[in-house]
């Protein structure tokens, strides 16, 4: 994908207008943060997403969705990133929808996603760093079902979710890809303890403790012991989506910074006249453009089922995180003291970048994956 179809352009415009208006920092992020809302996002906005049809982007037309793909999701996520809009879109409508795609759980949950009533979360990480192969949470057979024991962390919106897609180990040992199984864990499962935490960007992510959580066989998503593939599918959708959102974060920070460079005077000049800042701004521009190209390439390859999709998801995530990290650092630095105050918005981009950069694997994780997928 390099250029947008007319439909895609329209979608982008819809999302851009809607989010700039309704998803703005003042109306959403600051609002929910300042009232210390439990969810960290607004359910009203989530229903507006639904009304615009955005929630169905990745849901097949046969289930009432739009039957589109990662590229269209990326268009929306870039706007979400640009406005720092807290929303279940990535976790529920992209990753969650992808994880249960083609299973009976789709029948159960797609309607709620489509209507903006349901929120899904995705539980994979067990340590502070992303390492899906290392999944250790135990799911042992008991009768017709399974009993889950262990812990998860960095479960985005885990405290708000109606159902949590959970990666567990049915056989094998941590480090192995075989033996993993995905489960649909309802929020009120007995033995499930949810510790709902605020993250640095005021989003919420949970630590989950599974104390012999008994589940029916029905709770299995896909095949027992063969969860690696659907897990990968969800993680790739998430990685591509987070990349697009990071590109939006980078763009938003950069736009705000460029505006400041054109307003702020020091030494009798606009600071944007100083060549050292100009060159850094121009370099940053190139980095963001390249990151955007990488993010959309990854999405396009996912949509076409290309074998290089996985490689490009890692390229996109690493590049977008790097570009966004540069954008927010330069943003805060170029704003000077005012950028250090909570009153100003620029550092909110920095906080969001930190969380998105970590989600589904940070730059170091993905560089390593690029090396491995390239065979060296």
């Amino acid at each position: 994908m390099s250029l947008l179809t007319d439909d895609q352009k329209m979608l982008k415009e819809t999302a851009a207008n809607f989010l700039a208006e309704e998803g703005s920092i003042a109306k959403q992020l600051r609002h929910w943060r300042d009232i210390n809302c439990r969810d960290g996002f607004g359910h009203g906005l989530w229903k507006q997403f639904a009304e615009l049809g955005l929630n169905g982007i990745c849901i097949p037309e046969s289930h009432g969705g739009m039957g589109l793909g990662a590229v269209e999701a990326a268009l929306v996520l870039e706007e979400i990133g640009r406005n720092l809009t807290p929303s279940p879109f990535l976790g529920s409508a992209v990753v969650g929808a992808s994880a249960i795609q083609g299973t009976k759980h789709a029948d159960r949950w797609y309607p709620g996603i489509l209507s903006g009533e349901a929120v899904l979360a995705f539980a994979v990480d067990e340590g502070p760093r992303h390492a899906p192969e290392q999944t250790a949470l135990e799911a042992r057979r008991q009768g017709n079902g399974f009993v889950l024991s262990g812990a998860k962390q960095f479960v985005v919106q885990g405290g708000s979710a109606d159902m949590i897609v959970t990666a567990a180990r049915t056989t094998g040992s941590p480090g192995e890809r075989d033996g993993l199984t995905l489960f649909a864990v309802p929020k009120d499962a007995a033995g499930l303890a949810v510790d709902n935490l605020s993250m640095v960007d005021s989003s919420k992510a949970a630590r989950l403790a599974f104390d012999n959580v008994a589940l029916d066989a029905d709770a299995v998503i896909g095949e027992v012991d063969n969860g690696w593939q659907p897990l990968q599918r969800a993680l790739n959708a998430g990685g591509a989506g987070a990349s697009a959102e990071l590109v939006g974060v980078a763009s938003g920070a950069s736009t705000m910074t460029l505006d400041y460079l054109k307003q702020r005077k020091q030494f009798g000049k606009l600071i944007g006249e100083f060549q050292a800042l100009q060159h850094r701004a121009a370099h940053l521009y190139a980095e963001i453009e390249i990151a955007r190209a990488a993010a959309f390439k990854a999405a396009a390859l996912l949509d076409s089922g290309d074998e290089r999709a996985e490689l490009f998801v890692s390229v996109a995530k690493a590049k977008a995180a790097t570009a966004a990290s540069l954008a927010v650092s330069e943003g805060v630095q170029m704003h000077g003291g005012i950028g250090m105050t909570d009153e100003h918005d620029i550092a909110l981009f920095m906080k969001r970048e930190a969380v998105l950069g970590e989600l589904f694997g940070d730059v170091y994780y993905h560089r390593e994956r690029v090396a491995q997928l390239s065979g060296y």
Partner: protein
């Protein structure tokens, strides 16, 4: 064996006898510091005693003249005192902008009356000071400040606003740059001292992105300042300010910001799981250890008077950029746990708060860009910088 060995052994014995055991414990947090001032509540009897005995001996300002409440020590003796205090892990008896910043400026630019009046009180920790330099429109361009002091006969009438005044809400007095003439940018600035309880002074803490509020906005609305509370001549305050800023930058540089003796960022046991992160940490450690060597070298050259006067700008630039990088890597190493803002496990977001705080390092005390300008112009001699 040197000529100071007598002084060293005397000092050692005195410290041994007078420094309370509690005051030899490492400083764990900001709360362990003693700032002094008229509203100060000592954290412990030991803290109070330690300040009193040290102030009594003049050793809160060791190299200040004894006439002004100082210790009258030579530079070499002061160094011995510092070393001996470090040897037993003695805490500084007083943390004070009066000692570290205003004092040296008063010694150089103050009148005899001012020195006699202020310095002993500063040395005894009786006045807590804050610094009124930056303004909303004058950050890097400090000399562009607009806070006015009009000559009203027997007093100055001060109106305007400062920003980034550290602990202005806790300070007793302020040393403050004001505009007394608009004819010349740098040549129209004066340096005033006044009481923060003077009518018309108000402060408002600034909430930072890290969640703390060590700085204030400070407002002056028809504040009357007696004429004799000016340091240096009218319209020559920029000289005082520059001297004081140089002193501040030396301090920052001397602190070896961003280095510790051993700079490896993870415990030796914690080999990072990601090879890419591990090698990035190794690349950082190379730079951190090299900068530690630079800090040592700089300190030695500083003592020997062999550094270029603009060198603190280089140290400030390199040290603060390194400290930002250290914090960035600590966030990476901490992974999602480091992102938790209010969990116990993350010690209330300690890593994240430190990371966010570190972003200010390259802004406060002169931005990295300003330091690079100074190096380019004054050390490298590049034209028109």
């Amino acid at each position: 064996m040197t000529e100071f060995d007598g002084f060293r052994s005397d000092t050692r014995a005195w410290l041994e006898a007078n420094c309370p055991a509690k005051m030899r414990k490492p400083i764990r947090s900001e709360a362990d510091l003693c700032w002094g001032g008229r509203n100060w509540s000592f954290q412990s009897d030991a803290q109070q005693r330690w300040l009193e005995v040290m102030a009594e001996r003049g050793w809160t300002g060791p190299d200040w003249p004894t006439d002004y409440g100082g210790g009258g020590l030579s530079a070499a003796e002061a160094r011995v005192l510092k070393e001996e205090m470090q040897r037993i892990g003695a805490r500084p008896p007083l943390t004070s902008f009066g000692i570290s910043m205003l004092g040296p400026a008063l010694l150089k630019f103050g009148t005899e009356e001012q020195k006699k009046h202020y310095l002993p009180k500063i040395a005894r920790g009786q006045i807590r000071w804050c610094q009124g330099y930056s303004e909303p429109g004058a950050g890097s361009d400090l000399a562009g400040l607009q806070t006015k002091a009009d000559d009203a006969g027997d007093h100055w009438l001060v109106n305007g606003q400062k920003v980034w005044t550290s602990y202005a809400d806790k300070a007793d007095w302020i040393f403050c740059l004001v505009r007394t003439s608009s004819k010349s940018k740098q040549g129209g600035i004066s340096f005033l001292l006044f009481d923060m309880t003077t009518p018309g002074v108000s402060t408002k803490p600034i909430l930072l992105i890290s969640g703390s509020s060590p700085f204030c906005e400070t407002f002056f609305d028809d504040v009357k300042v007696p004429k004799d509370q000016i340091v240096g001549e009218v319209n020559k305050g920029w000289d005082v300010a520059k001297y004081l800023l140089g002193h501040e930058r030396e301090m920052i540089a001397g602190m070896g910001l961003g280095t510790s003796g051993s700079s490896v960022m993870l415990g030796p046991a914690a080999r990072p799981a990601d090879p890419s992160l591990r090698t990035e940490i190794a690349a950082f450690d190379v730079d951190a250890l090299a900068f530690a060597a630079m800090s040592e070298r700089f300190a030695a050259m500083w003592k020997a008077g062999e550094v270029h006067p603009a060198s603190p700008s280089m140290m400030k630039y390199a040290g603060t950029e390194l400290n930002k990088r250290r914090n960035q890597l600590a966030m990476a190493a901490g992974g999602s746990e480091a992102l938790e803002w209010d969990s116990e496990r993350s010690r209330n977001g300690a890593t994240a708060r430190s990371w966010l705080r570190s972003k200010g390092n390259s802004i406060e005390g002169g931005t990295s860009e300003i330091q690079l300008n100074i190096v380019a112009k004054h050390i490298l001699g590049l034209p028109g910088a």
